[in-house]
Symmetry: C2
Subunit: 215 residues, 2 copies
DNA sequence: ATATTTTTTTAGTCTAAACTAAATTTATAA
DNA sequence: TTATAAATTTAGTTTAGACTAAAAAAATAT
């Protein structure tokens, strides 16, 4: 498989998590920052290889084969992220682009050995689950902060948006994986909330609470 | 730079080590396992980018810019090899193809941090010198076993041929970096020699002694 | 129910990197 | 020194992956 094919599979996989029907050409083009016509070209090629199911004008779905490939790429990406943060001292907002490259390196033994070296981590630096060698994702029980209830003990366990800007925002607020959070107040009007974190009371917007996973 | 351009630069660099004039199109095609016409195409592109000096029918030479790029690729390749062997438990005959892929990953910080993580190694698992960040190669004093003299204390410090088959041959003879070697006898007829290594006397061909660096 | 808008596909173009076959230049040998 | 051989370049094709513009299909709105 080429890098480009792998990127398509990965994106189709991610889009599939929020939809149980076919993924549209436009949605893929959008996520890939490319054009619908390019997407049509590629999904036809992926369909020829039995990696996706495709009927004209109906969007695509991953086949079992395609899903396995996609999950393997996710596994590689997340393992590399762990490596970069825990061994090479990168911060969680610096690893995405590098892992994007490393995820295409082709060597099963490399990934097995890396996994072992990292002591079989189950989540990446953003709290996302790492598929094991068999392609099974550890089920992580988690909930959006925006949907949690007032005055309960919550732990920050992951981000929904792992963009650099959001991660840096969290750094600035001193919120990191494992931080304890308590919701002190919710504002009906704009769904903002006052939370207690690290002994500090701060106000966060709905946009923020929608991108924080807690347990 | 594309992967292909990087591969060309790297090969031209390696060929330059054995020649101080222009590197021929044929030599490059041979080393790349490709065709001379493809090489001509590429070196014209590299010349446009000021990475090589090229005059039709006269072969190429790296410019300073090209040499720097090539050395940086060699640096990345060798650092990754060290990582694979010393951290991930690979054997020295297993790392070449993986490092061939990893050498194209693009991130200066990644390489700096990797270098530090590995504690600034000066040679790779085959005894080849690792250029530092500035592109300087540590001068390693070494000599071919085939050119060493009888009855002196020698140390095996590197291989000239790092093909899987040669490395596995050395493994089978229990010869590894750091092994002490003494030449007991040289055979004029075919330049084979009897050596003492690890308390064992073995006969090695000229082909073998020509691919072993000692100090 | 038809017209309009949106989405998707098709057709054709472009670039990178390879190739083959033919032409040209350089090297070698009679 | 000319003829032949070898090396190199050029010209033209191919494939992958992108693109634009136009055509076609599906969705939506009047």
């Amino acid at each position: 498989m080429t890098n480009s094919e792998e990127n398509y599979l990965k994106i189709i996989y991610h889009l599939s998590l929020f939809s149980n029907s076919g993924i549209s050409t436009n949605a893929i083009a959008n996520a890939m920052d490319s054009k619908p016509s390019s997407v049509t070209d590629m999904i036809q090629k992926l369909a020829d290889k039995d990696l996706v199911l495709y009927k004209k004008y109906q969007g695509v779905q991953l086949t079992e084969k395609g899903r396995k490939e996609a999950i393997y790429i996710v596994r590689k990406h997340r393992l590399w992220e762990v490596f970069l943060v825990s061994k090479l001292g990168f911060k969680w907002d610096e690893v995405h682009d590098i892992a994007e490259q490393l995820e295409h390196i082709n060597s099963e033994k490399l990934i097995d050995n890396l996994d072992k070296f990292l002591e079989f981590p189950v989540q990446d630096p953003h709290g996302d689950p790492i598929p094991n060698k068999e392609g099974n994702l550890p089920k992580i029980k988690r909930q959006l902060l925006s949907e949690a209830s007032l005055h309960t003990k919550l732990t920050f366990v992951g981000v929904n948006d792992s963009s650099t800007s959001f991660l840096q925002y969290l750094d600035k607020q001193n919120i990191s994986l494992g931080s304890m959070i308590e919701i002190l107040d919710k504002e009906e009007f704009d769904n903002s909330m006052k939370i207690l974190v690290n002994g500090q009371e701060i106000i966060i917007s709905n946009r923020v609470s929608n991108n924080i996973f807690i347990k």
